[in-house]
C-alpha cells in the first residue's frame, strides 16, 4: 500500500465516526469535551454553527451518528451524542452576544426562500449575516415547518422551537407567514437573484381500501391530523384508535392519540417488527406508553355497519426472504383479523408535491415528477432556483435539511458573486498536538468503562394527561458529565512520524485493542490478513507509514482504536503523537474559522 496521505482532510475526517456520519458533520467530540468541562455555552455554539438547531436536534434528531459511534465496536451502546447536545442547550447562558452581526448596509442581492422549515431557515442563517436581503414565504402561521406542525410538543416544547427559530427570524429577514405560494413564476417575476425551494414533502399518502367512502369521517391522514392537533384545531379522538404504518409518523400519531382520549390505541403494521421504519427508541417510547404494535398485519378493509365505522379487517402474513434478501409478505392463510376502531390514522408515508411550480420555467422534472437537483450544489436546471430539505430528494429529517441548507447557501453566494457554483470551498481543518508535558495530554485520555446512561422520563400518568408535557427530562449536569466521559475522543488522532521510530515495538505491546503492526508492506487485501488482530472491516481504513529502516512499515487499523494515547505515551522517541483534528464544513462566505471554534480553542 502507498503511505497514507494524512494531509488529505478526508482521511482523519473518516476516523471521527460520528462526525463523518452526521449529514452536517458537526464536530461531536469537540462539543462533548466542552460539556464535560461545563462549558455549555461554548458547546452550544459549536453545535449552533454546524447544525443551527441544537436544542431542537438534542431532542429530535434521527441521530445517524449514534449507530456509527466507535463505542458500539467495542461495547454495546454508543455515546448518547444526541441527548448530550440537549445538555448543552439546557445549561447554556445567553448567546445573544455570540450571534453574528447583521450588516445594516445590505449587499443588494435579494433571495426568496419558499417554506420556512429547517432547510430554508439554514439558508437564511448563513446568508443574512453576509448582507443578503432575505424574503421568506410560508403557509403556516409561524416558522419551523414540520418541526412545528408535525413533531408533537411532548417531544419538542414550543419554547425550544420558538427560541431557535427566532434566532434566525430576528436576523432582519422578511418573513411572510400564512401565505400559500401557488406560482413559482410569480416569485421569479419579482426578480430575485436566487430562489430556494424548501417546501418539504407535505402530502400524506393514503390507502384506498373497501369501505373507505363510508368510513371517511373517521379516517385521517397522519400528518394532516398531527398538524391539526399542533395548531389546536383538533383536541380529541375516539377511545379505540388504529394507527396504520410503522414509521416515526405512526409513532407520533399513536402517542398523540393516547393524550387526546385514546385508550385502546394500537399500531398495526404490515412488516415484521424488526423491519419497521421507526427508530428503535421511538418504538420503545410508544410501547412504554402502553401501545401495542401488531406486526405482520396487512389492512384489508374498513368495516362499516349502518353507516358507522366499527373497525378494520387485517390479513396475517409472514415475511419470506429470497437468496438476495428480498422480502415478500406471504399470507399465512389464517382467518382475517378484526380490530375494533372509532378512528383510524393512516401514517404510511408522505411525498412531494409541486403543483405550484410551472413546468416551463426551465426546471426539469424526472419520471417520478421530482425536480432534477444537483446533489452537491442543490441547483436545479434553472440556475437561479435551488432545492433543499425534503423538497430536494424526498422526506428525510431535520439534520439533512440543515446540511442541504448550508450547501445551497454556499451555491447561492457563489452564484450571486459571479463565481462557479461547482467550485466548492474546502473544509476548514486544524491539527494540533495535545501534548502538555511528558505523558500528559490536554484531553481526558482515560477510557471510561461506564455503560450508556438512561435519560429519565416524566411519570407516565402525568405525561399522558398533558399533550404538551415533555416526556424526556434530559440528563442532569452530573449524569451529562459521566455520559460525556464515555466519548473516546475520536478526533484526537494518532499521528505517526516514521523518521523518529526505532521499531522498539512499545506501541504494539501496549495497545489495548491490537491496532498496530510492524510488518512487510503488501496489497491491502493481503496485508489485512497479516495484522496483529483480525481486520475484516474494510470500511475502516489502514494507516500505513513509509518504509522503516528494517524495510517494514507501520500499519494501524483505525477500526477499534480507543484514542487512549498509550501508544504515544509508551513511545520513547515521540514517533507517535496525539493531535486534535478539528474539521469544520465551510459555510457560505467563510474565509476565517467560525466564531464557535475560536471560542472553543480559547
Amino acid at each position: 500500500m502507498k503511505p497514507t496521505d494524512i494531509k488529505n482532510p478526508e482521511y482523519f475526517h473518516k476516523v471521527v465516526d460520528c462526525q463523518y456520519a452526521c449529514p452536517a458533520h458537526t464536530p461531536v467530540p469537540e462539543y462533548i469535551r466542552l460539556i464535560a468541562a461545563e462549558r455549555y455555552t461554548d458547546a452550544y455554539m459549536v453545535n449552533w454553527h454546524s447544525n443551527v438547531f441544537p436544542g431542537i436536534l438534542g431532542r429530535t434528531c434521527d441521530r445517524p451518528c449514534e449507530p456509527a459511534c466507535r463505542r458500539v465496536r467495542v461495547e454495546e451502546d454508543p455515546v448518547a451524542i444526541c441527548r448530550l447536545k440537549r445538555v448543552a442547550a439546557d445549561n447554556k447562558q445567553t448567546i445573544a452576544d455570540r450571534l453574528p452581526k447583521i450588516p445594516e448596509q445590505k449587499n443588494g442581492k435579494r433571495i426568496a426562500l419558499i417554506g420556512a422549515g429547517p432547510a430554508s431557515l439554514t439558508v437564511a442563517r448563513d446568508l443574512a449575516p453576509l448582507g443578503y436581503i432575505i424574503d421568506i414565504y410560508d403557509n403556516q402561521f409561524a416558522g419551523g415547518g414540520m418541526m412545528r406542525s408535525q413533531i408533537p410538543a411532548f417531544r419538542l416544547p414550543i419554547e425550544v422551537l420558538d427560541e431557535e427559530v427566532n434566532y434566525i427570524l430576528d436576523m432582519g429577514v422578511n418573513a411572510t407567514f400564512d401565505v400559500e405560494v401557488d406560482s413559482l413564476r410569480s416569485v421569479l417575476d419579482k426578480n430575485y437573484d436566487a430562489v430556494f425551494v424548501g417546501t418539504g414533502a407535505p402530502r400524506g399518502k393514503g390507502l384506498n381500501l373497501p369501505g373507505l367512502e363510508d368510513a371517511r369521517e373517521h379516517v385521517y391522514l397522519g400528518i394532516d391530523w398531527l398538524a391539526s392537533v399542533a395548531f389546536e384545531h383538533t383536541g380529541s379522538i375516539g377511545k379505540r384508535v388504529l394507527v396504520l404504518g410503522g414509521g416515526n409518523t405512526a409513532m407520533d400519531c399513536c402517542r398523540t392519540s393516547r393524550r387526546l382520549g385514546g385508550e385502546d390505541v394500537r399500531v398495526v403494521v404490515r412488516s415484521p417488527f424488526e423491519d419497521m421504519k421507526a427508530s428503535p427508541w421511538e418504538k420503545e417510547d410508544a410501547m412504554h406508553e402502553g401501545i401495542p404494535i401488531y406486526n405482520n398485519h396487512v389492512p384489508k378493509e374498513f368495516v362499516v355497519e349502518e353507516g358507522e365505522l366499527k373497525g378494520m379487517l387485517f390479513e396475517k402474513v409472514e415475511a419470506r426472504y429470497d437468496e438476495d434478501g428480498n422480502r415478500s409478505l406471504v399470507p399465512t392463510g389464517e382467518d382475517l383479523v378484526f380490530m375494533e376502531a372509532d378512528d383510524v390514522l393512516m401514517a404510511i408515508g408522505q411525498e412531494n408535491a409541486f403543483p405550484w411550480i410551472e413546468r416551463d420555467l426551465g426546471i426539469e422534472f424526472d419520471k417520478w415528477d421530482m425536480p432534477v437537483v444537483d446533489t452537491v450544489t442543490y441547483q436545479s436546471t434553472n440556475e437561479k432556483v435551488f432545492f433543499g430539505g425534503d423538497a430536494a430528494f424526498g422526506p428525510e429529517n431535520i439534520i439533512t435539511a440543515v446540511a442541504h441548507g448550508h450547501q445551497a447557501a454556499i451555491s447561492i453566494d457563489l452564484l450571486c458573486s459571479g463565481r462557479d457554483v461547482t467550485d466548492r470551498p474546502p473544509p476548514q481543518v486544524t491539527l494540533a498536538s495535545q501534548k502538555m508535558g511528558v505523558h500528559e495530554w490536554s484531553y481526558d485520555n482515560a477510557v471510561a468503562p461506564d455503560h450508556r446512561y438512561v435519560v429519565p422520563l416524566a411519570p407516565l400518568e402525568e405525561a399522558l394527561a398533558n399533550r404538551k408535557l415533555e416526556v424526556e427530562l434530559g440528563f442532569d449536569p452530573g449524569t451529562g458529565y459521566k455520559e460525556a466521559e464515555r466519548c473516546l475522543n475520536c478526533d484526537v488522532q494518532t499521528i505517526f512520524e516514521e523518521v523518529r521510530c526505532i521499531e522498539c515495538d512499545a506501541c504494539v505491546d501496549i495497545c489495548p485493542t491490537d491496532c498496530i503492526t510492524f510488518t512487510g508492506n503488501g496489497e491491502e487485501e493481503e496485508l489485512r490478513t497479516r495484522l496483529s488482530a483480525p481486520a475484516h472491516d474494510t470500511t475502516q481504513d489502514l494507516y500505513v507509514s513509509a518504509d522503516l529502516p528494517t524495510t517494514r512499515v507501520m500499519v494501524k487499523d483505525e477500526n477499534v482504536c480507543l484514542h487512549c494515547g498509550l501508544c504515544a505515551e509508551r513511545c520513547p522517541t515521540s514517533a507517535w503523537d496525539m493531535q486534535k483534528f478539528l474539521y469544520n464544513v465551510t459555510k457560505a462566505g467563510q474565509d476565517i474559522p467560525p466564531a464557535g471554534e475560536k471560542e472553543a480553542a480559547a
Binding site: R73, V74, E75, V438, H439, E440, N445, A446, V447, P449, I502, E503, C504, D505, A506, V508, D509, I510, P512, T513, D514, A533, P534, P549, T550, V560, L562, C564, G565, L566, E569, R570, C571, P572, T573
Partner: protein
Amino acid sequence: MSYQVPKFRHPELPVNDLGYTKADYEGSISTLCAGCGHDSISGAIVMACHELSIEPHKIAKLSGIGCSSKTPTYFLGKSHGFNSVHGRMPSVVTGAAMANRDLLYLGVSGDGDTASIGMGQFAHVARRNLNMVYIVMNNGCYGLTKGQDSATADEGSVSKKGDPNVYSGIDLCGTAMQMGATFVARSFSGDKGQLVPLIKAAITHRGFALIDVISPCVTFNNNPQSTKSYEFVREHAEATGTVDFIPMRKEITTDYDPGFSHEVTLHDGSSIHLYKMDETHDPFDRRSAINTLEDHRSKHSILTGLIYMDKDSRELHEVLETSQRPLNQLEEGDLCPGNKMLENINASLR
C-alpha cells in the same frame, strides 16, 4: 500519565483451548521507561502462554531485583508471583520447584541480577538442570540504578555515560552450556517472531531452559556506540535458523526442506522445527554449539535462535527421584508411614 490500560479489547481476539483471550494473560500497566525492551519480552511471554493454553494459576513467575525483575507485575496477572532479593531468584525457584513440581516456573532476571550478584546461583541452578524457564532481559547495564555497565557489557561498548567498557563481557549462553544447561537460546526483544516460539519451546522443554534476550535499555544504553542498542543488534544479529514450535496434536502445515530441517519431538508430544541457516551448526551437539557460539563471537556478530538443546535431558526431580506429588498434597499417612515401615527401614540398615 495513564495508570490503567483501558478495559476494552479487540472484539475478535482469538481464544485459546481454555477459552481465554490474550487479555487474560496480561498484567498491570508497565511503569518501565517508554520503549524499554523488557516490555516487549513481557508481551512475548503473554503471547506464548496464551498460545500454549496454559492455565494462569499453573504458572509461578519469580524474579530478583532490577527493571527486568519488575516485569512480572506487567504480565500474567492471574499467576503466582515472587519478587525475591537481588540475584537470589534461582534459590527461591529451586525451593518452590522442589516443593511443588506441578507448576510451571518462569524465572525472570536481568544481566546484573544474573551475571553479577547472582552469578553463583545462576551457575548452580543450570548445573542442577532444574525444570524451569530462565529469561534474562539483557541490556548490558544496571538499568534500575541508572545504567552502570554490567558484566555482560561487551568490551569497548559505550553506554550513554560515555566511557568504553574495559572488561570483556560474560556470554550467558556459553556459561550456561558449560554449567550443564539443557536448553540454551538467545533472542532479541525486538523480534517476537523468533522469541515467542523460543519461549514456547523453553516452556515445553523438561529441564533448565535459558533464553538470553537482548533487550535495549532506551534510557541508558541505546546510543549508537552501544552493542546492546536497537540499531546495533538489528545490524549484527545472525540467527541459527528459524524455530517453529508446533503444539501437541496440531497438524504440521509448513513444508520444511528436509536438508536443513530438524524436527524435535518434546516429551509431551509437541515438536520444534528448526530450519537451519548454518549447515555446520548442530544444536543437539554441545561441542558444535559451543564452536558456533565462539565463531560468531570472533566475528562480532550476535548469534540468536536455538543454540543448544539436550534431547535426553533429565531434570532435577527425575535425577533425585523425588515424590511425584507436590509436598502440599502429601497426607500425614504419606509422611509418617508408621512403625511397620520404620522397622523395615531399621532392619535394612542392620
